[in-house]
Symmetry: D2
Subunit: 244 residues, 4 copies
């Protein structure tokens, strides 16, 4: 007998499964999806404050229209004549990229690795000189992102506005002393700080975006299936041929 996987997540015994020590049948009857998401990722049942905070975080991520690269990918792949799950999975490949939802994990990594720095201005100056953007700051059009205010409002109410959220604000101030245009602390940055203050490892934090956005990707792909538009492609006028 070769043991292939060791797992502490769940113990499947046919129809009698235990998830992180809790009987699945009891969870089905008595717990919300958000509570069990917390349980499976953290190993213990959440407090009511943790549930409230996690709901706010996941709801904030649910959809951002058909034009962002994850939804665009998901709809194009479905339009080529694919099943719903294939479109959603392709969208997830885009979503996790480090210029898209993967920025959540990138921002959390930055906060968790640097919050004790003695020389934040020097660190930020060094990154700016190397043209490395700090993830979690900046927005295509907004100079101030008031979704951040909303999320930090819930964080203050529930007790999760802690050292990483404070640090995210400090970084925000320092970045704007040297930035060429005003950069907001955006929603990804706020969520990264809050999830860090909730105690999650940055390596796991991009996973919350995958969980929070999947319903939006399902909705986008289903809408595409119902649209009757046929296969999507660029117009020739959207392509410029270079070379011979």
């Amino acid at each position: 007998m070769t043991i292939k996987f060791k797992t502490a997540i769940s113990n499947v015994n046919a129809g009698d499964e235990v998830v992180r020590g809790e009987n699945l049948k009891n969870l089905i009857v008595a717990k919300t999806f958000t509570e069990v998401i917390f349980l499976i990722l953290r190993g213990v049942m959440p407090t009511s404050e943790e549930v409230q905070m996690l709901n706010a975080v996941l709801v904030s991520m649910i959809d951002h229209g058909p034009g962002v690269s994850s939804a665009l990918t998901a709809r194009v792949v479905q339009s080529a004549g694919n099943d719903l799950h294939t479109g959603v999975a392709a969208g997830m490949l885009a979503l996790g990229g480090n210029r898209h939802g993967g920025a959540l994990g990138g921002a959390a990594k930055f906060f968790q690795e640097n919050f004790e720095t003695q020389d934040l201005p020097g660190l930020l100056k060094n990154l700016k000189d190397k043209k490395i953007r700090v993830p979690g700051y900046g927005h295509k059009v907004l100079a101030h992102d008031n979704r951040t205010d909303v999320l930090f409002g819930v964080a203050k109410e529930t007790g999760f506005f802690g050292k990483y959220s404070e640090f995210a604000n400090t970084v925000h101030e320092e970045i704007n002393k040297i930035a060429s245009k005003k950069l907001p602390l955006n929603m990804d940055g706020a969520n990264a700080a809050i999830l860090s203050d909730m105690g999650f490892d940055w390596r796991l934090i991009t996973g919350f975006f995958l969980i929070g956005r999947t319903p939006g990707l399902v909705a986008q792909v289903y809408e595409e299936m119902q649209s009757g538009e046929g296969i999507r492609r660029l117009e020739e006028s959207e392509i410029e041929y270079l070379g011979s």
Copy 2:
């Protein structure tokens, strides 16, 4: 100006997004993830019974151990040296297959297309003769799946044990009159019937499995990343070479 996508899902106006007519900031503060999942897929806010039922359905799907083909795929892909989202997306490709989580949509299709049949025994006999399995029935080891009892219990309590759930039970009885071994109405079948009774189109129903299982896939891939096991592959003893 070429309009590429028409959408009724969300209206993104920089930091002021509206999802199905509801301001996202209000949703973040006041609604649970499950409520907003329902909203984005259905277009209206759920009743408290719909929330209770949907929580039960999603919780029932959250994980089924590392050995099922979706989790196995997700962990193997991560183990080859990939990011978290790449493993989860690969797992989702397996998950939606029609022999795996895709059976949810297959069962819902069967119920929605056939519940008014005048000759169920004839229909089932015909499928059996063609060796087509009815999705939602059968289990590797269980003769009775008591997760089905738990889910139907919540459905009765919330008023979603309706015509499709009744039909699922009738199919169950009829199938066992002709099956060579006792087939339970399994959890996929129960969820397919309940989601049909909640009013969801079968074309969308596989999407609930994608939403419900993503947290489990995230947990599995994260556990694999932390395991230090290195790349996974079969042993040579697990392969039999045929031919020359």
Copy 3:
């Protein structure tokens, strides 16, 4: 010991691998990629005519610009901040869709299942009434696809213009008796007929598109990586919001 996979493809014995009965080291030294593609899919070494024909088929598929849904998907996914292989794999998900490269297999299935029909006009009329398009016919702008002439030219030269290619031409004539606009036998249709005449099962034939287009997807994703364009998304002007 549990045997998991039985395979007749290759026998891996550490550094001494045998592919379909041929020692891999000998293949490396003495055979072309096209010859070994044929070998691994067919189980025997090709004749020179088979090599010539397969080269023509694979070359015809290599790229079709950045605007088709597979290349668009591949570039968008890379642009979100992903590795080369992730972009290429996402592009392949689009490519295999039955409205895109998957049409190759669809056309081959149609030819292989129907070439002995006694009533082709009736069959085509029936499909037209049900608004089912025959894959392999039609083009966005072309009334005649002279790539088909080129491919059939090679097929005649090499002896692979056989019963399926004849049938594809017959279907072409019959379809245009009832079509509302002139439909060419397009390149996918020609390749599907030729690969059928070479003896390949339609279930395998979409695989030739995956093989033939992967170099083009690699080129597209690499070009995107070098472009410095950043993340791709639709403009707001390309989206029309419906509903409240």
Copy 4:
């Protein structure tokens, strides 16, 4: 008019496509797949030596049995009830991981960035101290990989055994002065050095693995489809449940 993509790869003008300055119809009639792969990735037609070398490289990559993580993934995903292209794309996600085929690009990066180092022993000692493995060296069972000899043999014959191949051998010698067990220069390392000597950028080099292995993945997934095995999963005996 918004230009979305600029490309120098191909100029698609309906049925009259130009690839890197060459008319596609001429390529179909007169060139091999390997020649056009080189053309599309490099921008010019290859010499006969380049064709011979590239054939050897691609053939060496074509398959490595069903047990490696890419083929395992591809077969498991298909077995869950998915289309051929979905299985192949999932396999490609595993394949590009940096512990699997992605090691090709990793080795090429190491050679291209370090071949002018003045202190190779110091560099290797430093990596060893940090427990960073040099990609391209080592094998599960082999102390010497004679596929490397075969590939370097073709490289010497065609004139592509150049500075990077020399460097790969030097690194091999130096690594074995400090390694705890004898490490071969493996096939990935040899191919990475040869493709570097052919003038390819390391950022593109993993792409050759995607091209070379796709036929093998197609063969594996097709064999799985024909096998009648049903969905693959681990046995319960292959999982060890930890925790409560």
